[in-house]
Each structure stands twice: as structure tokens, then as C-alpha cells.
């Protein structure tokens, strides 16, 4: 089992979710986050104060999957989020030792889907 974490541009979220859905990956946790990478982004300006180089709005996806779904998940995220511009984001794939479904007490690969 793997835990896939992806940081993407907020405006690509819908496209990524659609592609995940197409590959039958329905379970996903989405959070609005702030982050900083190499991207400069669109600077906000308030009166004379320019918000430059500050934290940018990003979206974080977290998806727990069985081995067979790791590559489809990555393909869906890359396909939906890639624009070719700096700031498209990153995907982190982590090992996932244990999963428990609260309702039934099931564990492991049965609990994940």
C-alpha cells in the first residue's frame, strides 16, 4: 500500500479529480494549503504594498492506494495538473504500513478501497 501526496495548482484541481474518477480512484482528501516553491506566481498588490515572493495558494491531495493503483494515480495527477509552467507541483509517494476502516474494523488492502 502507498500513500500518495500531491501538491498542485488550485485551478487544476477539477481536472485532476475528473481524471482520478475516470480511473476509478474515488477516495481522496483535498486541503487548501499555502506553500513556496520556485514559482513566483501572481503578486497581489494592496495600495503600495506588494505581496511578492510570499506563500502561494496550492491544493494538497492525499490518496491511499493499493500497489496496482499507484501508477494510474500518478498518471491521472500528472495528466490533469501539468501545464508546463513552473509551479505545477510535485507528487510524493510514501509507504503505507497500516490502514484501518473505522466502521468495520477491517485492515489492510480491504480497508483501503
Amino acid at each position: 500500500m502507498k500513500y500518495v501526496i500531491a501538491i498542485i495548482q488550485p485551478d487544476r484541481l477539477e481536472e485532476v479529480l475528473q481524471r482520478l474518477n475516470d480511473k476509478e480512484i474515488h477516495l481522496v482528501t483535498v486541503t487548501s494549503v499555502m506553500g513556496r516553491g520556485r514559482q513566483k506566481g501572481i503578486a497581489e498588490v494592496y495600495r503600495s504594498h506588494k505581496e511578492a515572493g510570499s506563500l502561494l495558494k496550492k491544493v494538497k491531495l492525499e490518496i491511499a492506494v493499493n500497489e496496482a493503483f499507484v501508477q494510474p494515480t500518478i498518471d491521472a495527477i500528472v495528466g490533469g495538473a501539468r501545464t508546463g509552467q513552473i509551479g505545477d507541483g510535485k507528487i510524493f509517494v510514501l509507504d503505507l504500513p497500516r490502514v484501518v476502516r473505522i466502521r468495520t474494523g477491517e485492515e489492510g488492502t480491504e480497508a483501503i478501497g
Partner: protein
């Protein structure tokens, strides 16, 4: 999309054409229509002799102008709450900049075009450009008991909010530059002429022409803005992801605040249109409130019955539909008539927004046509049903009070305005599209108009 355009356009042209023919038929039947029904803003002329300023009237109309001014920011919050987080500032910005742009347009040319000395019933001339001669002395044609400048500033606030109503149709996808240009052109080439037709001394739809009655602007403001909104929604096309992937309103509390401010400001809009602190103003105040309450409740009942729950958005949408509908009728109907106007507005607009619009599939983001266009048409026609001279001796009797022809006159004014606003707006949209481009790019639309058009964000994520 093309099919929708054809269906909607033909429905509108059909209704409009019917109205126009009614209007022509009326004119040929009664070439010398009795001049019994003066134009809406004209208060009861008490003495035709030397006009004298009444301080009570002046105070009320100045206060009303301020109330109507507050409606535009109110509308900003109403609309702003209904859009997605990434576009909230674009809505507030459009409302605030329109307050600036149209106010100046009104001072420079707008007032003269709309209310200046008549040219063949079509438009005012340019003799009041820059408010030349519009000062302390009352103008007997419009308001004999208040300074002419008071009447002018009151009317300015109407001119401001009307183009602001339209922006609900193209919210979340129009370029800011295109918006500014379109609003300025629209105010000059659509609003000012229609205001002249209905309210201007000599205008061909008003008291000395067709004889349609419109107390506070159902035709000039709501049908006009509503039909233009439909033209905008069709011309610009749908938002990306419409309808499945458009998130719900980002701030319902803002929308409720905005609707409440609209309700409050509307007392100035309608009761102020009596142009005096008198019984007529009081009646307008009472029926405005009554119809709004009826429409808010009516919409909720329909929601509850057919959608299983009474909704917050339902109350405020119904209330706004009621305010729209009572606007032309507010100086002519009794409180019981207002109940009919209000419940009718909720019923007609609910059916249109909840059932018909979904089937047609066009994207009027915030239902500017569904509420202001449809509600405005209902209000203008309902005025022809429930109007009675018992309320306003200078008004008219509607169908339910013995004069079926008043209904036809109302339909005529509705038809003329619908066709003119729809066709005129399409032409202006085409012009603006060629000059600066109407729609933002796909990327800008996805990122949101706040950041791409204004370099600002409505909300921060971290403190």
C-alpha cells in the same frame, strides 16, 4: 448552445413583437389618447402656477436618493456572496466602479439624454449637458416641489444600479476593461433612451404617448436590465464546467446581507418615486414591503413543497423578485393588490429559474434575467391588472378595476423595451468584443478574476 439561442431569441422576439403590435394597434385605435395618466415620476401637480419648493418633499427625495445609492453596494454583496471565492472581489469591484463611471456619465450627458427637452419622443436633447441649468429651481414637468438638482441626483442612482443588475448574467467570466466599456455604452445607448421614452417629458411610451404606467422603473430598470442580461449570457456563453462543476455560493451570509440592503434601499426606490413626502409615498412604502414579504414567503413555500426544504437562498431570491415586481405597481395598487403582485412574482420567477432555465441550459450566472427580466415583465403586466385610481387619481384602472386596455398598454411598453434592450445589447456586445475582447482567457477564468483582473484576493488562507 445555438439551439438555446434560437429558442430564447424567438420567444423574446415573439413576446416583444406581440407587445409592439398591441402598442401600434392601441395607437391607431385611439390616436388622441387621453392625457390622464402622467409619467411615473411626475408627482401630483397641485398648482400649475409658480412652483414652490417644499422642504419636506426635498428632504425625503434627497434621503431616498441616498437609500437608492446604497442598493448598488447592497447588490454587490448579494451577487458577491453567490459567486465562488476566487471571484468575489471582481463582483464588488464591478459594482463600485459602475457607481463611479455612471455617476459621471449622468452628470456629463446621461441626464440630458434621458430627461432633457424632448426630441420626437425618442431622446432628450443636449441642452442639459454638464447639468447646465439644472439647479435649485424646480422643473414643473418632473417634480414641481423639489429642486431640479434633487430630482436629477435621485434619478442618477437609478441609472447607476440598472447596468449593475446586468452583471449577474456574465459574472465570473468577463474582462474588467470590457465590463467598463460595455456598461458605459449601455447606459448611454440603452438606458438613457428607454428612460426618456417612459419618464421623459414627451417620451412615446409614457403619459402623453402610449399611456403605459410605470411608477418606479419596472420597464426602464428591470425589464431593460433583464433582457440585456439574457443577451449577455447568450453572447458570452457558459462558464467553464457549467453546470455540474460550478461550486455553490461561497458566502450565503454576504448574499443575505446584500438582499437585506436591497430591501432597505428599495423603500427609497419606490416610495421616493412619489417625489414628495405624501400619502402616495406612504402607499408605495406599504405596498413595496407587503409584496416583498409575500414573494419571500411564496418562494419558500414552493421550495418547501417541491424541494423538501425551506431555503435561505429561496427567501432572498423571492424577496428580490417581489421587489422587482412591485416596482412599477407601487404607486398604483392597494396592499391587497400588492399581495397578488408579490405571490405572483414568486410563482412566475420560481417556475422560470427552477424549471424552465434548467431545461434551456444557458448560463445566466446569478439569474439576472430570471429574477429581473421575468419579475419585471410580471410586474409591468400585473400593474395593468391591479392598478386602481382609488390609490392614485393620476394613475389608471387596470383589468381588475375595469379597464382591460391598460393591460394592453402595459404589454406594449414591455414589448418595445424587450426588443430594444435585447437587440441593442447584442450590438453593443459585438462592438465591445471587437474593441477589447469580452471574455477572459480559459486560464484566467480557472485562476479567478480577483487575482487575474485585479491582483488582489478576497480572503487570505493564513493569518
Amino acid at each position: 448552445m445555438n439551439k438555446t439561442v434560437v429558442i430564447l431569441a424567438s420567444i423574446c422576439l415573439l413576446i416583444g413583437g406581440l407587445g409592439v403590435s398591441l402598442c401600434v394597434a392601441e395607437e391607431t385605435k385611439a390616436p388622441a389618447a387621453p392625457a390622464a395618466a402622467p409619467t411615473a415620476p411626475a408627482a401630483t401637480p397641485e398648482t400649475p402656477a409658480a412652483p414652490k419648493i417644499d422642504t419636506g418633499d426635498t428632504a425625503w427625495v434627497l434621503m431616498s436618493a441616498a437609500l437608492v445609492m446604497l442598493m448598488t453596494p447592497g447588490l454587490a454583496f448579494f451577487y458577491g456572496g453567490l459567486v465562488r471565492r476566487k471571484n468575489v472581489l471582481s463582483i464588488l469591484m464591478q459594482c463600485m466602479i459602475i457607481l463611479c463611471i455612471i455617476s459621471l456619465q449622468w452628470v456629463l450627458v446621461g441626464y440630458s439624454l434621458a430627461f432633457g427637452p424632448d426630441l420626437k419622443g425618442i431622446i432628450g436633447d443636449l441642452s442639459w449637458v454638464g447639468l447646465t441649468g439644472v439647479g435649485d429651481a424646480p422643473n414643473a414637468d418632473y417634480a414641481p416641489t423639489i429642486p431640479h438638482s434633487t430630482f436629477m441626483i435621485f434619478q442618477m442612482m437609478f441609472a447607476v444600479i440598472t447596468p449593475a443588475l446586468i452583471l449577474g448574467a456574465f459574472a465570473e467570466r468577463m474582462r474588467f476593461s470590457a465590463f467598463c466599456l460595455f456598461s458605459l455604452l449601455w447606459a448611454t445607448f440603452i438606458y438613457d433612451p428607454v428612460a426618456h421614452w417612459v419618464w421623459g417629458a414627451g417620451g412615446f411610451l409614457g403619459g402623453k404617448g402610449l399611456g403605459a404606467i410605470d411608477f418606479a422603473g419596472g420597464t426602464v430598470v428591470h425589464i431593460n436590465a433583464g433582457m440585456s442580461a439574457l443577451a449577455c449570457a447568450l453572447f458570452l456563453g457558459k462558464r467553464i464546467g457549467f453546470p455540474e462543476k460550478i461550486s455553490p455560493p461561497h458566502s450565503m451570509p454576504f448574499a443575505v446581507l446584500g438582499a437585506a440592503l436591497l430591501w432597505f434601499g428599495w423603500f427609497g426606490f419606490n416610495a421616493g418615486s412619489a417625489l414628495g413626502a405624501n400619502g402616495l409615498a406612504s402607499n408605495a412604502f406599504v405596498v413595496t414591503h407587503t409584496a416583498t414579504a409575500a414573494a419571500g414567503l411564496g418562494w419558500v413555500i414552493l421550495d418547501w413543497f417541491y424541494m423538501k426544504r425551506a431555503t435561505m437562498l429561496g427567501v432572498i431570491t423571492g424577496a428580490v423578485a417581489g421587489l422587482v415586481a412591485i416596482t412599477p405597481a407601487s404607486g398604483f395598487v392597494t396592499p391587497l393588490g400588492a399581495l397578488g403582485v408579490g405571490f405572483g412574482a414568486a410563482f412566475v420567477c420560481w417556475i422560470f429559474v427552477m424549471v424552465i432555465k434548467a431545461k434551456l441550459g444557458y448560463d445566466d450566472s446569478l439569474d439576472a434575467f430570471g429574477v429581473h427580466g421575468i419579475g419585471g415583465m410580471w410586474g409591468a403586466l400585473a400593474t395593468g391588472l391591479w392598478a386602481t385610481k382609488a390609490v392614485n387619481s393620476t394613475g389608471a384602472d387596470g383589468l381588475f378595476h375595469g379597464d382591460p386596455m391598460q393591460f394592453a398598454r402595459q404589454a406594449g411598453a414591455v414589448g418595445v423595451t424587450m426588443v430594444f434592450a435585447f437587440v441593442g445589447s447584442l450590438i453593443l456586445l459585438k462592438v465591445v468584443d471587437m474593441l477589447v475582447g469580452l471574455r477572459v482567457t480559459e486560464h484566467e477564468e480557472r485562476v479567478g478574476l480577483d487575482l487575474t483582473q485585479h491582483r488582489e484576493a478576497g480572503y487570505t488562507l493564513v493569518d
